[in-house]
């Protein structure tokens, strides 16, 4: 391999991961402006650049700087090692997911055809499930190591919630693997390329519903943010955190949202493909990336939209929904997909 090949190998997973990180300030801004829109108030609209208000985009940068300059506190009786480790576990588990999601077709550059995916591994989907499941360690350990009963309660809630909803999510996802015949995410996309009716969201609508709802629960977003429930638990698992350690939790939430959106798009909305438009070459590669970004952006906005629309679940409601509604629905979807595949419709 020449030096250029090595650069490509390094850049392929780095592009979506860095992209997701750079998206975080934009998302915090979109979240607050979205909240403002829904609550009939302006939201942050003053902090700009050099006298230009830039719709308040400067606020996002100011908030990021604030994380660096605040005092970094470790409580006296906290377990310092785990307390420091916890936010980075959450951050890591959120970031690595993007390295196996295909974010475009192929890009022909300098006589090479570069597949736009970090690593096309045969168990791509399982890799994302496995890594997303790890974030619960960060949350539970943050809660436990803080030596604060509210933090601990948040950690407990998160553990119970993630285990319950992971089950529904993987069962719903199994329907997609059944129709694609593979766990490789590039093949999942390829199986949906033919027409818009092959997008899994249509034949497996309930699977899509269960998967998306579970994704909200896995990322601890409203209406499933019981782990931080500010009205009951102060801040839940991150009550004691400040400065950049809190910033890491905060960023991880948005990165996890981005990965979840990209995963939903790949599983149920044809990934980077457009059913009626297949440009080739360089243009095709660029268009496919834009299509993936647009679809992912739509789901990111949905995450924000839901947050400012729905109230938080109560704990027993959360458990009832997960075990008595979503899981049976996911199994029904699996059966339905099996029938479709067996009869040759899919």
């Amino acid at each position: 391999m020449t030096a250029i090949d090595w650069v490509i190998v390094v850049l392929r997973p780095l592009v979506p991961v860095v992209g997701a990180l750079l998206l975080v300030p934009m998302l915090t801004w979109a979240e607050r402006r979205g909240a403002g829109l829904m609550q009939d108030r302006p939201g942050p609209n003053r902090v700009g650049f050099f006298g230009w208000s830039a719709f308040g985009l400067g606020q996002a940068l100011a908030d990021a700087l604030k994380f660096f300059f605040k005092e970094d506190i470790t409580p006296d009786n906290a377990d310092a090692f785990l307390y420091t480790l916890a936010p980075w576990i959450v951050m890591f588990s959120a970031l690595v997911g993007f390295s196996v999601i295909p974010y475009g077709s192929t890009l022909p550059i300098a006589g090479r055809s570069i597949p736009l995916i970090g690593a096309d591994i045969p168990i791509g989907a399982l890799f994302i499930f496995a890594m997303a499941g790890l974030s619960v360690y960060g949350i539970v350990l943050a809660g436990w190591s803080s030596n604060n009963k509210y933090s601990l309660m948040g950690g407990f809630r998160s553990a119970a919630q993630v285990i319950s909803y992971e089950l529904a999510m993987t069962t719903a996802g199994a329907g997609v693997f059944l129709s694609a015949g593979s766990l490789r995410l590039t093949e999942v996309v390829a199986s949906q390329e033919a027409s818009i009716l092959r997008w899994n969201a249509f034949p497996q609508f309930f699977g899509f519903l269960v998967f998306t709802i579970s994704a909200f629960a896995e990322t601890n977003r409203v209406p499933f943010d019981l782990a931080e429930a500010d009205a009951e638990l102060v801040g839940g698992y991150h009550t004691e955190y400040s400065a950049f350690k809190f910033g890491a939790f905060f960023m991880a939430e948005y990165v996890a949202m981005t990965v979840a959106s990209g995963f939903i798009v790949t599983m149920y909305f044809g990934g980077w493909s457009l059913p009626f438009f297949h440009p080739q070459g360089l243009l095709g590669g660029l268009v496919s990336m834009a299509v993936f970004a647009a679809k992912t952006g739509f789901f990111l906005l949905t995450f924000i939209w839901v947050r400012w629309t729905l109230p938080r679940f109560r704990y027993d409601q959360l458990m009832r929904l997960g075990w008595k509604v979503l899981l049976p629905l996911a199994f029904a979807n699996l059966l339905w997909t099996a029938i479709l595949v067996r009869t040759g419709i899919l």
Binding site: P122, F127, A130, V136, A159, L183, D316
Partner: protein, 178 residues
């Protein structure tokens, strides 16, 4: 020594070291975390043996679900660090040592009989790994597979029955507790 072999051996060493930490660490939470790291290393070992599916399942099921449950319970019980280590139990220690020696002997003889030590084959990860596994699980191994499922279901029901309390007088607080 190839790169794959190096990673495999390193993962094996990490798995053993952290299993050791699990046994000797005084803090039950840290012990559990050592098991998590050890299981991770085993998952890496599976991947290096061209079985990425097993590796992923190892992480999802053991590290991602079962050990989270253990962690949950250990935190709930709030085991005291001091009381866990005060009891020295000399008799059991001797027995444990004997157990280690016997187990090591069995392992060694098994390795010697098979003639070779398992290592990474260097082959690319098998793409069609999941299908043969599923076929074997649902055809040849269908009976033991179902038997284990029924056993698990029975123990689950048993555990529920043992833990079941009389329905509380309408306070409404019991079911909100995690």
């Amino acid at each position: 020594m190839s790169g794959a072999r190096l990673v495999f051996d390193l993962a094996g060493a990490v798995a053993i070291v952290f299993a050791g930490i699990m046994v000797v660490h005084r803090n039950p939470i840290k012990s559990l975390l050592a098991v998590v790291v050890s299981f991770f290393a085993i998952a890496v070992g599976f991947v290096m043996l061209s079985a990425p599916f097993l590796g992923a399942i190892q992480v999802i099921v053991y590290a991602g679900a079962i050990l989270v449950l253990f962690l949950f319970v250990t935190m709930l019980l709030n085991l005291d660090t001091e009381s866990a280590s005060s009891d020295r139990r000399p008799f059991q220690r001797g027995l444990a040592l004997l157990g280690i020696v016997v187990f090591a002997a069995i392992l060694l003889s098994a390795v010697r009989r098979s003639g070779s030590i398992v290592g990474p084959s260097g082959e690319p990860p098998a793409t069609g790994e999941i299908e043969p596994l599923a076929r074997a699980l649902f055809s040849q191994a269908a009976l033991p597979f179902e038997a284990v499922s029924i056993l698990l279901l029975a123990s689950l029901t048993g555990a529920y029955l043992l833990m079941r309390r009389e329905p509380p007088a309408k306070t409404g607080s019991a079911e909100n507790r995690p």
